[in-house]
Structure formats: structure tokens, C-alpha cells
């Protein structure tokens, strides 16, 4: 698969992630969708790294994966805290504040 194919794959993952964030109500699925956006960016970086024949993109991807894990850990921690207060993992449960 050439660069354009990989970039297309990244674009699809990105769109899927944005779609999930906007349409899903379950917080865990929203978190998964955000991770899909990260994955789309990661695929792009690897594809462009191959295109330019330098390692910068791959280094970026390694950091991306690590930070995404940290992000997921904090997100799940917040979810547990919210669940204890509201007994629901639904985004709609978080509507006490006016937003």
C-alpha cells in the first residue's frame, strides 16, 4: 500500500473517530472514538515518515501511543468518579451544569 492508501486509511479512522465523538452517548465509546482520532494521526505520521525517509514521524507515533495511554487512564479515572456520583456512564448524565 502506498502513501496515499495509508493516508486514506488515516482519514477514515479520523472521520470514524469524529463521528463517534459526535454521535455516541456512552462515555466509553466516546473515549474509544477519541483514541481512533489518535490512531488516524499515528497512521498518517508513519505513512509520511515512509514518504520522507526520515524517522521523525515514527518517533512522533511512539510518543503518541504512550500519551494516548496516559490520556485513557485519566479519562477512565474521571469516568469512575463520575459513575460513583451519577450511577451512569452516559454522556447525558453530565448535564447538571448549564454548559
Amino acid at each position: 500500500m502506498g502513501t496515499s492508501g495509508l493516508v486514506l486509511l488515516g482519514f477514515l479512522l479520523f472521520c470514524l473517530g469524529v463521528f463517534g465523538v459526535l454521535s455516541r452517548r456512552n462515555f466509553i465509546v466516546v473515549l474509544l472514538s477519541a483514541e481512533l482520532i489518535f490512531a488516524g494521526a499515528g497512521i498518517n505520521f508513519v505513512a509520511f515518515s515512509d514518504l520522507w525517509r526520515n524517522l521523525t514521524g515514527q518517533v512522533f507515533t511512539v510518543f503518541l501511543i504512550a500519551v494516548a495511554a496516559g490520556e485513557a487512564a485519566v479519562g477512565l479515572g474521571l469516568l469512575v468518579a463520575l459513575y460513583r456520583l451519577k450511577h451512569s456512564a452516559n454522556v447525558d448524565a453530565a448535564r447538571d451544569l448549564k454548559g
Binding site: C15, F19, V62, I65, A66, A69, A72, V80
Partner: protein, 118 residues
């Protein structure tokens, strides 16, 4: 200003996709529910209990700790591949990294995140 045009088209398509797919789904899908249809399907075996049973919160803590430490090892692989060329600086750097990980591990341990029984 013409440089913005493709972005505009791109944005327009991206914005249109979500409402469009939701709309098509809402228009096309039939809405005939009955008791059997609303039951969860699981290979023909009848359901015995709610699939959304509670999982102990211990699993959550262990899972998060595992997730973070597991993924952090990703930084060790590039170092392992290139450590002969990185020399002393690479060794020092990786040990600083490991020291930070050990500190985090120590914290989790002291806080009792790894203790399974209360």
C-alpha cells in the same frame, strides 16, 4: 482566498456526513418492535442474567496501572535497538526514565493499588 475553497468543500462534506447518515438511517429503518425482537440475541441460548453485571473496581485500578506501564515500555525498544550508538548519554537517559517509572510504581504500591484483598 481561493486557497480556502478546498478547505470549505472539505469542511462542508465533513459536516454533512454526520446528519446525512443519521437521517438516512432514520428514514430507511422500519420501526416494528415486538417482544421477541427486543430480546438480546445470543446464539439462540436464552439469557440468564444481565450482561451488564458489575465488575469489581479492583479490575479498573489494575487495568489502568497495567495499561500505563505496559505502554511506557514502548520507549525502551528504540533505545534497545540503537543503544550502542547512543552511548553513555542514552544509558543515563533511559535510567532517568526508568527511575520515574519506578517512582510511579512505588506510589501505586504504597497507595495499595496492587493489593487485591481489602
Amino acid at each position: 482566498m481561493m486557497a480556502y475553497l478546498p478547505i470549505g468543500i472539505f469542511l462542508g462534506i465533513a459536516l454533512a456526513i454526520v446528519p446525512l447518515t443519521l437521517l438516512i438511517g432514520a428514514l430507511l429503518r422500519p420501526r416494528r418492535f415486538d417482544y421477541v425482537k427486543l430480546q438480546p440475541y445470543e446464539c439462540g441460548i436464552e439469557m440468564r442474567e444481565s450482561p451488564r453485571g458489575n465488575v469489581s473496581v479492583h479490575f479498573f485500578l489494575v487495568a489502568v496501572v497495567f495499561l500505563v506501564f505496559d505502554v511506557e515500555t514502548i520507549f525502551l525498544f528504540p533505545w534497545a535497538v540503537a543503544f550502542d550508538r547512543l552511548g553513555l548519554f542514552g544509558v543515563v537517559e533511559v535510567f532517568v526514565f526508568l527511575a520515574l517509572l519506578v517512582a510511579a510504581y512505588l506510589y501505586a504500591w504504597l497507595k495499595g493499588a496492587l493489593r487485591w484483598e481489602e
